[in-house]
Symmetry: C2
Subunit: 338 residues, 2 copies
């Protein structure tokens, strides 16, 4: 499979691509589906989640799908309610050692079985040469939501906890890891051919704190999830300051956000790295020629690595014209041809 | 003056420091002052702005003050109303070439004289060995607010404009530059011994767009403002991806945000650089020993540069205990002693 081969650094006929948040609001058929259920309802109803996952696969020649879900899905199963308004809101955040001690370790098949059910449905419906990716939020990012009770501009509650009680914070990260490692493994068992760990907020840390907290917590999950032939992708949003550290995550593929020059990233990471990324999603709001030129430039930079999976450097934006994705998919496959 | 000497790379007896947003809500005397006027009222009333500026100077042995104002202050004088709720809100954003063409070029003394008046008052009240910094938002950052109508998570309106009409966007940046260069010059004439350009949102760009838009727009302002003995500081929030480009801004001092390792930044920028930064403000929420250790580590890294002005790597947070600043100031001066 072109997608898995590229992830593992094997030869491919052209650069594969998928797009973060490719099943989403920029597609009219997704907006129609959303009239049947709210966001969480879609995530929790396997036939609807499978349908949302498959929508972009029908429309575009994408090389992989990503299961329709949310990085926060396991949090509810840890005993912490999550609402989407549409931004995530956690009315009972985790702010003390006592709160941490009360966190539950979910059984993925019992408590999150709807995700595995959706994965099974997608895998059955999808052509065998196209990938299906499972995912979850990385420990530091889930800790950010748990402590802040939602998103944040500056993550001062999170970092305040981290600086005042580093051992308590370690415990929080460890408990999150214990929840998500089996969940990722279950997604693989259910049919995912790769898994991605999203560290959306790790980029808010000074490098020394990234190395002390976010990176070892992610590494521990990656170690427990790794199995032969099933690539693990680690995506850090805002990875530029940590390029010297990311290899030690143990991930097969490093997702690179759009703020980094991909050529520079490969230089820092070393030529035997496999990278994923990293077009700025806003380019899809511009003219087709610009999309083609930028995509080709990124594909060319990616050739310096052992493997390259093309992606956006952040989730696709809801105002993206669906035609822009057609332009992008063709441009990447054309530019990437060996 | 220790602060200006460090900015110009001259020998100093110890590392000077000031703190972004040092006149602000973490100080009880500031919160008392705010009962007399709202935020914009403070900015626009020279005696109150001067008082807010001087408050942290009375409490702490800081080496420089920064005039109490806002990066968006010139925008209103360009004919675009700004409200603070408390986040900036621009009810009539700039979204088309016609909107850009209607922007006015303010006369700083006529339209923004209250800032120069406040600077004169602070300069008269402050000891001559302590600095006073003027400032404004950099062109790209002001363009971000003008186009988005406020802050944004992803700046898609801004970037959409930039990608669809790069020449129109150049015109917007040029008009902002024409507004702010004379305003910075007037702040120097009024008594500021240095000026800082805040590029709060430039870090949201891929490096090629930073080089194409944000950097030349900042450089053009810096060129027009430079005069002998008056350092210009350029602060890019999220500068890690552009370390190879920042020198060409022409600034005397490069402000480095907290996400970057200062030693790595100096390596990339070259040993003849002068840097400012870069403690994570959240460290001030932790124990005194951690503040001292982190401050000393940053001071030690700064010794690799030609000059180093200590600062936080982002504005101080309102929940910071005022005593933490006392610890910080003493730690920096002690660790920095030659």
């Amino acid at each position: 499979m072109r997608f898995v081969d590229a992830c593992l650094g094997r030869p491919v006929d052209t650069t594969p691509l998928w797009v973060m948040r490719q099943a989403g609001r920029y597609l009219p058929e997704y907006r129609a589906l959303r009239t049947q259920a709210d966001f969480l309802g879609l995530c929790r109803t396997p036939e609807l989640a499978a349908e949302a996952t498959l929508q972009p696969m029908r429309r575009y020649a994408l090389d992989a799908s990503i299961i329709f879900s949310d990085i926060l899905i396991p949090v509810q199963a840890m005993g912490v309610p999550v609402e989407f308004r549409p931004e995530p809101h956690l009315p009972a955040p985790v702010r003390t050692r006592n709160d941490v001690a009360r966190l539950q370790t979910p059984d993925p098949w019992r408590d999150l079985g709807f995700v595995m059910d959706a994965i099974g449905r997608v895998r059955a419906a999808l052509e065998p040469d196209r990938g299906l990716i499972g995912f979850v939020g990385a420990p530091f990012t889930l800790a950010a939501y748990l402590v802040e009770g939602g998103g944040s501009k500056d993550f001062m509650r999170l970092k305040g906890f981290m600086h005042r009680d580093p051992e308590g914070f370690d415990d929080l990260l460890a408990r999150i890891g214990d929840a998500i490692a089996p969940f990722l493994a279950a997604q693989i068992d259910a049919g995912a051919c790769a898994v991605q760990l999203f560290d959306t907020w790790a980029g808010q840390l000074p490098p020394e704190d990234f190395r002390r907290f976010a990176l070892p917590a992610a590494r521990s999950v990656i170690e427990r999830v790794r199995r032969p032939g099933v690539p693990v992708i680690y995506f850090v949003n805002g990875a530029a300051p940590y390029l010297g550290d990311l290899r030690s995550s143990g991930a097969d593929v490093l997702g690179i956000d759009f703020r980094v020059d991909l050529g520079h990233a490969i230089e820092r990471l070393g030529p035997d790295v496999v990278v994923q990324g990293n077009l700025d999603p806003s380019v899809l709001l511009g003219p087709a020629e610009a999309i083609e030129a930028r995509a080709a430039a990124i594909v060319a930079r990616g050739r310096a690595a052992r493997g390259h999976v093309f992606n956006l450097g952040h989730g696709i934006h809801k105002d993206t014209p669906p035609e822009a994705m057609t332009v992008l998919v063709e441009a990447v496959h054309r530019a990437g041809a060996r």
